[in-house]
Amino acid sequence: MDFKERIYLWEIVKGLWITLRHLVYNLFHQRSMPTLHYPEEQRPMPARYRGRHRLTQRDDGSLKCTACMLCATACPAKCIYIEAQEGLPEGTEKRPQVYNIDMLKCVYCSLCVEACPCDAIRMDTGLMPPPADSREKFIYRIEELTKYPAIKHPNPPFLHRCGKL
């Protein structure tokens, strides 16, 4: 340490100058402050944000899911439970009778989205699952999984390794 550092005063003035500069800058640039008035103000989620799941539907409102179980197989948390039933009209593809995702187990890794061979599940709602007061309410059934539309990126068919989001 040289004399200036040893007496400390010179460095304290330099340090105060740095913090003062930030203070003055922030006073005159309040719009570019990094903080938000959450929850009134919310940050827009990026297009690739892995949020609450969504089961996609065909134009007639039926689920695209064919209950092939690939998502449930790929899931590292084993949080997807599917029961299949006969498709409509009879003799066509299967469809899910029960499709449950246990949100308390889900780790939001999007491996199910990658595994899906028919674009039936996406994580593009841009939402976080809301808190609930019982474990049962965290098991999302087909109704909850089709409730919210994709709000962030309307039609990203090839999320996996497309790079165009």
């Binding site: 400390y8 740095i18 595994a115 068919p157 390794r161």
Partner: protein
């Protein structure tokens, strides 16, 4: 005065290694996020490199560049947290805010890249989840200039600050011999004056193509660790600049249907793609029987993955060599004979991440 010290670990033990044996090789990737959660991308990269060693895979240049970019970003984020929290423990809160604002912007980039901030799950065996989004490289480039400024600010506040020097100089020191004896790696070893960096000593990915220095300290104390980390962030910024300047185009994933899922266009549009999607998801990636060890230079030091395969779709054994464990085991040595308040400074400076320490 500290007479003796006994680290008690294991409170964040989640049986990572045992859980890894339950699922496919791909299912381990989300688990690796939770090792060192301050630089999750580096664990993803290290694990995938280990599995890829089983195969004769050529990952396209762009894929490796992307992995290097996210690795260096993670290194910066990790060091920002380490220095920021270390300074908070010593009573200097301002640096923490300056660093966390910079880290926040880095996290924003990570989030728009992979869709999550902390639990990234970004790499896949044979490549990465998705290519960089449009305009992402430009955003990162714009951020680099800001990061240099943040480092300058904190440099001005801490490096010559008499109070900070008095609290850290000569505290928690260790000699180079002892550090090697304990198995130190990473910034804490380099602070002792040993210029050992796996990126230079055993270049993986393309680290041998780029210019960067390995900063070292002299005394191995808390102050030197701080200096080494600051210098390393500057070197990472330098690497990022070079990486962005030479980023090649092309695909990011290896072209091997036994390892990498087919592109979605093929899955939706052709029977071959659909079949290989089902085959790969149900059977999983199946490396030949054998064992590999791959070590990468993570933010804290050598992060090694030792994987034994029995030829099936599930790992027979996954063993992690965490950089934190040897550091934590040296705590009694580091703090013996020091004041109790120095314990806080020492513990912060070796950057213990419990997720990685206990697994």
């Amino acid at each position: 005065m500290i007479v003796s010290c006994l680290p008690e670990i294991g409170y964040l033990h989640r049986a990572f290694e045992k859980s890894s044996e339950k699922g496919s090789y791909t299912e381990v990737i989300p688990y690796t996020d939770r090792l060192n959660y301050c630089s999750a991308m580096m664990n993803n990269v290290g694990y995938c490199m280990a599995v890829e060693k089983f195969f004769d895979l050529t990952i396209p240049e762009r894929g490796i560049y992307v992995r290097m970019i996210v690795s260096e970003m993670s290194r910066i984020m990790d060091h920002l947290v380490c220095i920021g929290t270390n300074a908070v423990d010593l009573g200097a809160l301002t640096n923490f805010w300056y660093f966390f604002q910079a880290r926040e912007e880095l996290y924003d980039l990570i989030e728009s890249l992979c869709g999550a901030r902390l639990t990234t799950t970004y790499t896949r065996i044979g490549g990465v989840m998705a290519d960089l989004p449009e305009g992402w490289a430009g955003r990162l480039e714009a951020l680099l200039a800001k990061l240099y400024k943040v480092l300058e600010d904190v440099d001005g506040l801490l490096t010559k600050n008499r109070i900070f020097i008095d609290r850290t100089r000569g505290v928690g020191g260790i000699s180079a011999e002892d550090a090697i004896g304990y198995g130190f790696t990473g910034p804490c070893l380099r602070a002792c004056g040993v210029a050992h960096d796996l990126r230079k000593a055993n270049p993986y990915m393309f680290y041998d193509r780029f210019q960067f220095d390995v900063p070292t300290g002299e005394r191995g104390d808390v102050y030197d660790r701080y200096l080494v980390r600051m210098a390393e962030m500057r070197q990472s910024l330098r690497l990022l600049e070079q990486l962005l300047a030479t980023l090649p185009g092309g695909p990011v994933n290896a072209d091997n249907p036994l390892v990498v899922l087919p592109p979605k266009e093929k899955v939706y549009g052709s029977i071959e793609g659909l079949i290989s999607q089902f085959e790969l998801i149900i059977k999983g990636v199946q490396p030949p029987a054998g064992e590999v060890y791959v070590a990468t230079e993570a933010a804290n030091g050598e992060l090694g993955f030792y994987i034994v395969s029995d030829g099936t779709g599930r790992p027979y054994r996954v063993r992690v060599r965490p950089p934190c464990f040897p550091l934590m085991s040296s705590m009694p040595h580091l703090v013996k004979g020091q004041m109790l308040a120095d314990m806080v400074a020492t513990l912060g400076s070796i950057n213990i991440i419990a997720g990685e320490l206990d697994r």
